[in-house]
Structure formats: C-alpha cells, structure tokens
Symmetry: C2
Subunit: 440 residues, 2 copies
C-alpha cells in the first residue's frame, strides 16, 4: 500500500483529534482510499504536554521548519490559528511545493487572496473545509454538488458558542446573557476570552468565505454589517416565544439580481423554520438554490473529532488530487477568475426587512401615540404591538414591543434614533431583525 | 473559453431540466468553472414532443449511437432509466472512452459492478449523485467530506412519493392510503403505476447504493428486508400521534462491529427526531458518524430542477477531473477494492428493535391476557398498551396496540403468528418497527 507523509503544525485540540482519527479509523480510511497516511512530523511550541493520544513522541519538534522543509512531506496541516505565524508557515509550505490543509477562517478571510494566488502559482492546493461549520461538508457541497445553482438565500448558524448561549437563554428564560456565557465556558463551549465568538467576528469570517464561494464576492468583514449577541436581553427571548419566534445569530446572504445582501446579526426566525430546531452547539446551514429549492445541512460545527473529521476529509481530497493528476481541480474560493468586491454588496441602509423593536418608556398617556407617530413619519408600518406592564424594569417604565412590516434599514435607524431621544423613552430602542417569509 | 461537448440519451423530464439549466444558469456556471458546456446531441425515441425548453432542434436524433459514437462528446448523460437499453448504452459509451453521468439507481444497484469495472478498465468515470436524494449532495459528502468516519447509524427518507403519501395521511387522519396516493398522482408526485415507489423498491435501490458507499457492502436488494407503505392504516397514524411518533418509510443502516443491519420499512420515529420534520416530497438523511456525531441533510429528492442540478454537478465534476488529470480520483462505490457481500448483513431475524403491534380482536374477557401471555412466552416485554373500543371496525372488535421494549425480530414474528392464529383475533397483527433511542 502506498504511503503518503503529512506534517502537522499546531498540536492543540484539533491536532490531537487528527491523531485520534489516524489511530482509531486507520483501517476504514485505508480500505476506502487504498493508501496509508503517515503523520511524519508534528511542530508545536509545546512539546511536553500530554494530549491524551498515543503517538511516537520522536516526531515532535518545536521547529516548524522541520515540517516545512521535509521533502517527504507533501501535505502540511496548519492548525495554529490566528494570523501569524500561520500565514508565514502556509506561504513557506506552498513555496516548498506542499499542499496545505487549514481550519483557519480568520487567516483566509483576511489573507485568502495572497495564499490562494501563491498556491496556484506553485501548483499546490489549499483546502479548508474545517474552517466553516466543522464536520458538515458544506463548502464542498457549495463548490461542487450544488455548483449549477444560483444561491438565492442562505441563512446560517455558524457559531456553536453563540448558538449554545442563545439556546440556553431560550430554555431558561431566567438566565441572562452573562449566566449563559458562564455555563458555556464551564462546559468548554466558550473560551476564557469569548470576544471573537460573542461579538460575531468568528461567524463573520465564515460568512465572508461562504459569500466568496456562493457569489464570487470577496470582501473584508469590515464591509459586512456584523452584530454579536451581547445585547440580547432575556426579555427579548420571552417576547420571541410569544410571537412564536426563536432568536439565532444568523449569517444572512440574500441575492437581489447582481447585488447581494450580506449581514450577520441576531435574528428572529419562525419556530417552524428548520433552523429554529438547530439548538445547542450545533450549526445549521439553510440554503435556497434556484434549482434545488430549500436545503438544510445540520451537524456539529466545532469540537475535536468533528473538526478533525473535516481536516481528514481535506487531507484525503488533496492526496487523491495529487495522485490522479495536478492541483487546482476546484477553485478554492469557487471561482477561477478574480472575485468581485464590496460594490456588489447592498448597502446596509438599503436593506429591507422586518423588525422587532423594544422600547422602554415611561408609562404616561400619549407615549404610544408619539412613538407610533415617529414610525409613521419614517414609513415604518406596524404589524403588531405588545405593551408589557410596569413589572418590566422598575417604577413607571413599560416595555413596548413592535413587529414591523417590511421597512428600510435607513428609515428604521432614523426612527429609532428619534424615538430614543424622546424624553419619555429611557434608553435607545433595542432592535432585532426578523426573517419571516409570512410577514411582508 | 474552453468548450466541452456532452451528449444526452433520454429526453424526459430530467433531460429537459438539464437544458433549462444550460440556458438559464449558463453565465454562473461558466464564471464558476471557467469552461463552457455544449450539449452537442440529444437522443430519444421521441423527437417530436414539445419539452417546453428552448434548444437547437437539429441536435435531436432517435439514434443513440449518434451520441455514443461522436468523437467530440467526452461525457454521455444517460437519463433513460430502467435496465435496458440503458445498460448497453452506458457500456458502449465507456468502451468509446466517454465518462458517464446517470441517475439510474435501479441499473446501478443491479449492474453496478459490471459498469464500474468497465469504467475503471477504460479509464473513464461514472458519476451518479442524482441517483440518491435528488438535489442533495449526499453521495459526494459520504465519499469525500465524511470519508474518515465510521457510519454508526443512517436513517434516511429517500422516496418523495412515499413521504408525501405518509405526510398526507398524517395531516388528514381521515385520508386512507388510496386517497393519499390518488392525490399524489394528481399532483404529479406519483406515477400512474406507483408500484416501484410504494412497495419500497426505489428506496431499496438507493439504500443499496448508500450501503456500498458507507460500508463497502454490495448486495442485491433481495437480500435486504424491504417493506412498502401500502399496509399502513389511517388508524396507525392516529395511534402514532398519540405516542408522539411519526411514521416514515426509512432506509435504516446500523453498524454492529463488522456486521451491518440494513432494512427498509415504515418506521415510527419520535416527533422530536429531526427526520420527523421532513414532510411532503422532501428527502432527509440523518447520519451518525463516529467522528462528526449527528448530521442531517434535507432537501428535495426529486423533481426536474433538483435532479438536473445533481446531474449538472456531476457533469462539472467529470469535466474538472478530466482537465486536471485522469479518471478514478474517487472510487465510485467509495472503496477501491472488491466490496463485501451479503454475509456482512445481519440476518433480519437477528435484528433487535422496538415494535408497534396492532391487533384486532373480539372484545371478550381474557383476550388481552392471552395475547400478553404469548408475547411473554416469546420474550417480548411490553412497554405500553392501549386498547381502543368497539368503534374501531364494526361489531365486537377492538383494536389493541402494544409498544414493546427491545425485542428480537424472530421472536416477534413467532409471537405475532401465534397471536394471529387465535380464534379471537380477526386478522394477522400489523407491525410497525420503531426507532426511538429513549425506549430500550
């Protein structure tokens, strides 16, 4: 049986998962591929800690160039994460004629063009299925199986940490954001510094990759509207339930002819929507193709084995490509030519959608009419309104919740700014956008 | 831009869908692939009927060999269906050095080995994503993205016709099987002769392909336990709802070490199971990988555009493979070596599962105790029992419904045979197997 040598840089959780797979599923992988994968060398700054997996300790090195310069190694797996030294190592691997597998969405969202261009020039491949939705083979599906489709709509839950926190807050309406985050941290679903997750940055990196693959648009995440989940109040989750909605942090990509709406924020979706059943640390991608109609992909978006499964799928993909011919069979970002840039993205102000607006106001006569008047002045038509009594947040304050008909983001922003400035309103209105095709 | 010529044999619904895609999504396909696909010739016995799509009529021929012998054509798309002449045409295409795309599950389940062996010998590929679950890229996911996983459990709804009928019977409890079938036929979801669908044959062909891809086992469908949906009574759907179950026609593959349980029959699943939300003509594949954990793939499993989307994905896959190297990058049935045969399949008599048993008996004292006694004699332990009064089917008859703890199929069969022979029992007991992990 042929043997293919690979090297690993970054020996953390996913790296140890990879060794677990090479140990435990060796037989099945060899039976399916017809070749043997040999992990020849592992580089990590920490070559002491016990990772809980069995392997030949002599392959450990703290010098990444022992991997990058090894002529036997044809594939380098980069699992360090972050921008540097990951970028440098990947470019060096490419220069040395090695294909690369990585799960590094931040790096690819930021430095993708440089990396992919270098790979093409050096006739090697860069694979990154593990960068989006962990064990779910979604990138491959978008780039290959579904390639003939225009993607009219994509709604995706791409961050298990946020989804766990929101599920937790939904199931235990008493549990506020901080308490749910703490639980996520205790269970190992959130990092000590959870900023990248809860502020939506991690999801935005993934959104940027999906946007490139589905629409050929390559933008830095700064040109996408990104909101995290830190402002979600337990009260909003109670209200969501009253309206038969669930709140999910959604990556949203909607096609309008040649322009595309791309945004990431907490979103209310109907309880009957397939994504509303995607709870806990699970990820889900709902897509509407002009040919295939509606599809849902559901599974674990993080964790040692699911992510390592995706890395392993990529390693095998690259070995197969290498053996059957040359690199570059499938363009890494889905399009062989130059990608379009941010002028194809619909300005957030032009986005039209439905809104949930929560306003905390003094319980005085005429307040509701003044608020409603401002909305009307800004062309915001109200679908339903619920006023909750004085028990909301202390003396004299009421919470008024509006669900709007379809409205323009610019109008909504103006209206809520004006409402927030009313003397009877205590704080800026809270806004959660709604994806509900039964509303207009 | 490079142009690749393809030929089509069989100009029915899916074939016209293919032309629709080539017309409507030409721009996006060319942008993503960098090449142009030219449908050079279409062969069909009927070259007169209007298919409702625009194309150059001069490419139509009633001689399939005009496609098979055209040296320009590198890929032949076979969409005739059935065994012959599809088999002959595919083998001829392969002999002529052309790769083949087909949606013909019956042919592949029956003659797969011959076709794939010929393809390998002639260095061409045979792709068949459209053969299972229409527009859902499930075969590619199993063979590539998820390749490192052992598949511990697969539960799949693979026939839209049956799923529509069962959904219809569930939603309208008054609607019996015949009425639901009639509605499916009126809506174009069932054929005039629906036998292949409703008897489970079509699903079994797909199950056989999935079994090969996931476990390397190749068996004729005769060695799989196959039951259709014709015996499902509206009463069973009412009872299912009482137990918070739904009834789905499931392809079931469960791994037990080196042996595999493979069966296809109507199955009760908990309402909370993700597959229970797969209604109407949709397909769904639930899988449990030892690495990725639980995943669900959901989408349209039939219809003109979804199926043609999968065919188109395969065409592009084959063109990409041809351009980047040689054929055979991925083994068509997931394993490069010879596949295992039916001795890896657990005998149906050895299968252990939970059962719903409906017995129609005379309402006389002692009946329940006699039935329960027979079950006990055969080691079948009862989880719950519901007796419904005389309104079930005329005078003196009651329906008694049992849910069992885990029991062996052989025991179950013996017990129900014995119960059916009781003088107080009017007809053979009806059995529906249950997949509920909360039962034991």
């Amino acid at each position: 049986m042929d043997e293919v040598a690979i090297g690993l840089i970054g020996f953390g959780t996913i790296g140890s998962g990879l060794i677990h797979i090479l140990n435990e599923n060796k037989t099945v992988i060899e039976a399916r591929t017809g070749f043997r994968i040999k992990l020849k060398r592992i580089a990590d700054l920490d070559i002491e800690s016990d990772r809980g997996v069995i392997f030949d300790k002599s392959i450990l090195t703290n010098d990444a160039y022992k991997v990058l310069n090894d002529p036997d190694i044809s594939i380098v797996v980069e699992l360090i994460g972050g921008y540097e030294p990951a970028r440098t190592f990947i470019l060096e691997a490419i220069r040395n004629g090695k294909s690369v597998v990585t799960a590094n969405k931040a790096l690819l969202a930021q430095h993708g063009p440089e990396i992919f261009e270098n790979a093409a020039n050096n006739c090697v491949d860069v694979a990154f299925e593990a960068a989006v939705a962990g064990g779910i083979p979604i990138l491959r599906s978008l780039r290959e199986g579904l390639i003939a489709n225009r993607f009219d709509k994509i709604l995706a839950i791409l961050n298990g940490t946020c989804n766990f926190i929101l599920s937790e807050m939904t199931e235990n309406p008493g549990s506020g954001f901080s308490q749910a985050l703490l639980k996520a941290q205790q269970l190992g679903y959130a990092e000590a510094d959870p900023t990248l997750d809860i502020e939506g940055i991690d999801s935005a990196h993934k959104l940027a990759l999906v946007l490139a693959l589905t629409h050929g648009i390559r933008v830095p995440i700064e040109s996408i509207h990104v909101e995290g989940i830190t402002k979600i109040d337990a009260f909003d989750l109670v209200m969501a339930r009253e309206f038969s909605y669930k709140i999910k942090l959604l990556a949203i990509i909607i096609r309008h002819g040649n322009r595309v709406e791309a945004r990431l924020h907490p979103t209310m979706i109907p309880e009957r929507h397939p994504l509303s059943k995607v709870d806990g640390v699970f990820n889900g991608i709902f897509l509407r193709g002009d040919l295939v109609g509606d599809q849902l992909f559901y599974g674990r978006g993080a964790g040692r084995e699911p992510t390592a499964s995706a890395v392993m799928g990529d390693i095998i993909e690259l070995i197969r490509s290498g053996r059957s011919g040359k690199a570059g069979r499938v363009p890494p970002l889905g399009y062989p030519g130059p990608l379009k840039s941010s002028d194809c993205i619909l300005d957030m102000n032009e986005v039209t959608t439905n809104y949930y607006i929560r306003i905390q106001a003094n319980d005085r006569p005429g307040v509701l009419s003044r608020i409603a008047g401002i909305m009307a002045n800004h062309n915001i038509s109200i679908h339903s309104v619920v006023q909750k009594g004085r028990d909301f947040s202390g003396e004299g304050a009421v919470a008024v919740v509006f669900i709007t008909h379809s409205a323009k983001e610019a109008d909504l922003q103006k209206a809520t700014l004006e409402i927030g400035n009313l003397d009877v309103v205590n704080c800026p209105p809270a806004i959660i956008r709604i994806e509900d095709e039964d509303l207009d």
